[in-house]
Point group: C2
Chain length 180, copies 2
C-alpha cells in the first residue's frame, strides 16, 4: 500500500478546481461529479480541509466551499497533513532496549537520544516533507493551466454554472449543514 | 500506519549485529534472541535479505547468516527495498482523465505525461530515497559503536559464542534448509 492514500489525490484535485473557480463556491458533490469520482468519498475529505483552514464553507443556495487563502499560500504539505493527519514514515519500536544482554534493565547509553536507525528515517522523512512544503497549490494550478487549451477553463465554468444555477431545482438547501 | 513496517527496523538491527559479528555466521534465531524479539518474525526477514544479495546463508553446525558484502557498501535504501519491495509513496489513480467534460473520452492533453500532482509526489519520494541511499549500514554501525562502552562488543561476542558453541547440543543441524 502506498504511504499517501487516494484521498490526497482527490483532495488536491478538488482544491485545484476551487483555485480555478474564481471565488465561486462549489459543493463537494459538484466537485465530485465534475471529476467523475465518488461524491461520498469527496464529502469525507472536505471537513478535514476545512478544519485545517484550507477551505471555508458557506450554506444556502449559493453555498459551498471556497479556498480560505490564495492558492500560492497553500503548500502541498499542508494539504497532505490536513488529509492524512500525523502519519510517520517510520514507527520506531525501540527494540534497541530489548537486547538480551541488558536482562530487562537497559543502560542509559543504549536508549538515550534517538535510535540511530530512527534518526536516518527521520532525516528521509524531513527531505520528503521539505519537498512537499516547497510546492504550492498555486504552482500546481499554473502547471495544470498551461497543459489545458485556452477554451477549457470557460467550458468548465459553463459546466459548473449549469450545475449551480439548477441547485434550487434539484433539492432544497439544507441549513446548518456542511455543503455536500 | 507508518510507511515502513517494523520489519525494516528489525532487519536493520539484525544486519548491524552481523556487521559487528566479525564474519561469524549467526542464525536468525540467535539474532532474535539476542535482541529480545520474535524469532518467527525475524526468520521471515532473512530470505528477503538473502534474495537481495545483502546476506549469504550457510548450513551446518557453524552455519548461519553473514553479510554478503562490507557494511560500507550496503545502503539503508537497499535494505528498505529488500524488505519492503516496491512500495510507492503515492499511488496515482489518474483521476484527471475522468473529468465529466471529457464524457469518457479524455483528450490527449489531459492524460499525457505524468499527472502534475503525481510529479510532486515522485519528487518527494526521490528526496526520501536519496537520503536513504546516502546512508550505509557501515555509517550506522560506526554510530552505534560510538554509543556503546568499549566492553559491550566483547560481552555480545561472549553471549553469541555461548550460543553458537552449544548449537549441536540443542538440536541437530538440518541440512539443505535456511538457517533459522
Amino acid at each position: 500500500m502506498a504511504h499517501l492514500t487516494a484521498s490526497v489525490e482527490y483532495g488536491i484535485h478538488c482544491l485545484l478546481w476551487l483555485a480555478a473557480a474564481d471565488d465561486a463556491a462549489l459543493s463537494s458533490r459538484e466537485l465530485a461529479e465534475l471529476q467523475g469520482v465518488s461524491p461520498t468519498f469527496v464529502a469525507k475529505i472536505f471537513p478535514k480541509l476545512e478544519k485545517a483552514g484550507l477551505v471555508t464553507a458557506s450554506n444556502g443556495l449559493r453555498g459551498g466551499y471556497r479556498l480560505a487563502k490564495p492558492a500560492s499560500r497553500i503548500s502541498v504539505l499542508e494539504i497532505v497533513d490536513a488529509i492524512e493527519g500525523p502519519k510517520p514514515l517510520f514507527d520506531c519500536q525501540e527494540i534497541r532496549g530489548r537486547c538480551a544482554l541488558f536482562e530487562g534493565r537497559p543502560p542509559k547509553w543504549a536508549t538515550s537520544g534517538v535510535c540511530s536507525i530512527h534518526a536516518v528515517m527521520l532525516k528521509a522523512e524531513r527531505a520528503m516533507r521539505e519537498t512537499l512544503a516547497a510546492e504550492t497549490l498555486g504552482d500546481l494550478a499554473a502547471r495544470v493551466e498551461r497543459k489545458a487549451p485556452a477554451s477549457f477553463s470557460g467550458e468548465a465554468q459553463a459546466w459548473l454554472g449549469g450545475r449551480t444555477s439548477t441547485r434550487g431545482a434539484k433539492r432544497a438547501p439544507r441549513k446548518r449543514e456542511a455543503p455536500s
